[in-house]
């Protein structure tokens, strides 16, 4: 079970979440917003199955379920789920890999069916580099940015875990990193 992070990214900005029980069902809540910190007092309590409700000044109840994940927080509010990325130091490593153009990682556990590139190949953005078979379907893994294949870290037919780096890419105009 992952911890629920207290520092997250919301609307593109890092935000610190603070909540504190007062008395009965009243809670003090604060978080950073544009130009400062918002604080408010709400009523809240548990729902079935690990959820909770809260009620602001307008008396409207919100129904919420939440849990921590590898990369942050899954939050279901009034029937819609949102993923809030953690900005805490130790979180989000694996997830960030998915956006890192220098590393093509397996997005899920599966079998590497086919490699579509070899070391030294020039690759375009969105060019398919490998095919992963998982959950009875084939999934193509594209390049995130244009560059050149630096190394291949896997071989066809092997079973790879989610998060495994499969291919390393040297990004055009970026010979450091």
């Amino acid at each position: 079970m992952k911890r629920v992070p207290e520092r997250i990214e919301f609307d593109g900005r890092p935000t610190r979440l603070v909540a504190r029980g007062l008395a009965d069902d009243r809670f003090h809540v604060s978080y950073d917003v544009e130009g400062g910190e918002a604080t408010l007092e709400v009523r809240a309590g548990c729902l079935q199955g690990g959820g909770f409700w809260f009620e602001g000044a307008d008396g409207k109840r919100h129904h919420v379920y939440a849990c921590g994940t590898d990369s942050g927080m899954m939050l279901r509010i009034d029937g819609t789920t949102h993923i809030l990325k953690s900005t805490e130091r130790d979180a989000g490593d694996q997830n960030d890999d998915l956006g890192d153009p220098t590393r093509i990682v397996a997005p899920m556990t599966g079998t590497l069916v086919r490699l579509l590139c070899k070391p030294g190949d020039a690759v375009d953005k969105d060019q398919d580099l490998a095919v992963l078979s998982a959950m009875k379907m084939e999934h193509k893994l594209p390049a995130i940015a244009p560059g050149r294949v630096a190394s291949i870290e896997c071989h066809e037919g092997s079973t790879v875990e989610a998060g495994t780096v499969l291919i390393r890419i040297e990004i055009d105009g970026d010979h450091g990193a």
Binding site: V4, G49, M74, E138
Partner: protein, 510 residues
């Protein structure tokens, strides 16, 4: 008078997940001992916990467990089962399995192996449909004159004859696996090879066929039942909205089928069923063009994933019908008079997948698993809180099926039920399903198999509302560790932040 003697004493269910749970429950209701099988990964799965008796088959890989015919038959022998229900997927459409069951003295709850073989091959099925007078889509069966798989050059030539866009489909398949849509000649060869490879992987047979792509098309199917002599149809299901050729939402009746069209569809399906002396449950799939002309697509020789919508509009229990027919009861005694279709039902397939990222399947634990409840709401699932969605099996977590007196009410009920479904810990398509179900085109019944290409706005996720920040802050207290609330009884009272010192503070130093 007491309860009637059961049709069978002991039935084994050779499947897992929601369909195993649903069939095992149906068996127990009949007073019959319900025997489950499972892989080593599924020892604690819900279907195992539903059964009266369990036999472990082997490792997680399907080939070592749910596809291992010898191991399943061995479990059937050890458990003294009289009959075997195959569910859908896995061995349900494998004639060798059906034949082996029968040869070993077990009643196979499904069609005969011969029927499965004949109808399971798309080529042969099409011939049977034509012989029964059912209209078919132009295509190429993928075979050369000797009956072997045609060579690539022949495929290329036939593809040009049929014209683009066309479909490459696994001959042995079903459910969209091994199926490829090809828009232009230049993409054909790669698609053909990928289709052949997937067909081989999925079915152990790389035969594929080609078919004209009717466009825009609806996917409408008819539920059939036969007892070998007689056959009936139980209305239609429209399953047009699909992603990656997998059904997303299924409903009955179809918003476009009136009584006259329903009668024609049912007559076509029954003609085919009678032509082959069909036994047990099956589905005849049709492609319906914008002119409401329909073409035979294929027959699924098993219970479908979406059978609950038919159960809700007919009031019948299709699993109980399957078992009764397998026990030798005749249809006329089981469905006296004409089927009564009433109301509307829609099924939403809840899957662990990321709609926004190409419907990429997701794996992980269901940290939160809360289902909706109430009148007209049915949830068929093989998962519960703490279950993990594993990469070994498909990504379907549950089917949410709602019914109501009419389609408009059914859609409102579905929207609320999807909002009341809380699955966290793994990414699911629950919000995607709601966006589709509330899309104006869906609401108006303007369905087509390329619905999601035409309405890609269904795929994009809503931005988080401002209230989400307050909710997230409270979550640091309420959902700490994900399990804290459960310990406090799941429901009553509060967790205990105010029991802690006044200085209690989650957000760290300021």
């Amino acid at each position: 008078m007491t309860r009637p003697a059961p049709l069978f004493d002991r039935i084994l269910v050779a499947n897992r997940g929601e369909i195993a749970v649903r069939v095992l429950r149906g068996i127990r209701e009949l007073g019959t001992t319900a025997i489950a099988v499972c892989s080593e990964a599924d020892r604690d799965a819900l279907h195992v916990r539903t059964a009266d008796e369990v036999h472990v088959l082997g490792p997680a890989e399907p080939s070592q467990s749910y596809l291992a015919i010898d191991k399943i038959l061995d479990a059937a022998r050890r458990s003294r089962a009289q009959a075997i229900h195959p569910g859908y997927g896995f061995l349900s459409e494998n004639p060798a399995f059906a034949r082996a069951c029968t040869e070993e003295g077990f009643v196979f709850i499904g069609p005969t192996a011969d029927q499965m073989e004949a109808l399971g091959s798309k080529r042969h099925a099409k011939e049977l449909a034509q012989a029964a007078g059912v209209p078919c889509v132009p295509g190429f069966d993928g075979k050369d004159e000797g009956g072997d798989n045609a060579d690539e050059a022949t495929f290329v030539r036939e593809a040009a004859r049929i014209g683009f866009p066309l479909l490459v489909k696994a001959s042995a398949g079903g459910g969209g696996r091994g199926m490829r849509l090809v828009h232009a000649e230049k993409d054909f060869v790669e698609a053909l090879r990928a289709g052949q490879r997937e067909a081989l992987q999925a079915f152990g047979d790389d035969s594929v066929l080609l078919e004209r792509y009717v466009h825009p098309a609806r996917h409408i199917e008819v539920q059939i039942f036969g007892d070998g002599e007689h056959a009936i149809a139980l209305g239609e299901r429209e399953c047009s909205v699909q992603r990656r050729h997998q059904k997303v939402l299924e409903e009955s009746p179809s918003p476009v089928v009136d009584d006259a069209l329903r009668q024609r569809l049912e007559e076509a399906a029954v003609a085919l069923a009678r032509h082959v002396g069909y036994r047990n449950a099956g589905t005849v799939e049709f492609l319906v063009g914008p002119d409401l002309e329909f073409y035979f697509l294929e027959v699924n020789t098993r219970l479908q994933v979406e059978h609950p919508v038919t159960e809700l509009v007919t009031g019948l229990d299709l699993v109980h019908l399957q078992i009764a027919i397998a026990a030798g009861r005749d249809l006329a005694s089981l469905v006296p008079g004409h089927r009564v279709l009433r109301g509307h039902a829609i099924e939403a397939r809840i899957c662990a997948e990321d709609a926004e990222h190409g419907f990429l399947p997701a794996t992980g634990p269901l940290t939160i698993c809360q289902w909706p409840a109430g009148p007209g709401i049915r949830v068929d699932t093989g998962f519960d809180r703490g279950s993990a969605v594993s990469p070994h099996y498909d990504s379907m977590i549950a089917k949410l099926i709602v019914s109501a007196p009419n389609r408009a009410m059914c859609l409102m009920r579905l929207e609320q039920a999807l909002r009341d479904t809380a699955l966290l810990g793994v990414i699911t398509n629950v919000d995607f399903l709601r966006r589709v179900a509330t899309h104006p085109a869906f609401v108006s019944g303007d369905l087509r198999t390329d619905f999601l290409d035409v309405h890609p706005e269904c795929i994009a996720h809503e931005p988080a509302p401002a209230d989400a920040l307050c909710a997230a802050a409270l979550a640091t207290v309420f959902a700490r560790g994900g399990q804290t609330n459960t310990t406090s009884g799941g429901t009553k009272g509060q967790p205990s932040p105010w029991d802690m010192a006044d200085a209690f503070r989650i957000g760290g130093a300021r």
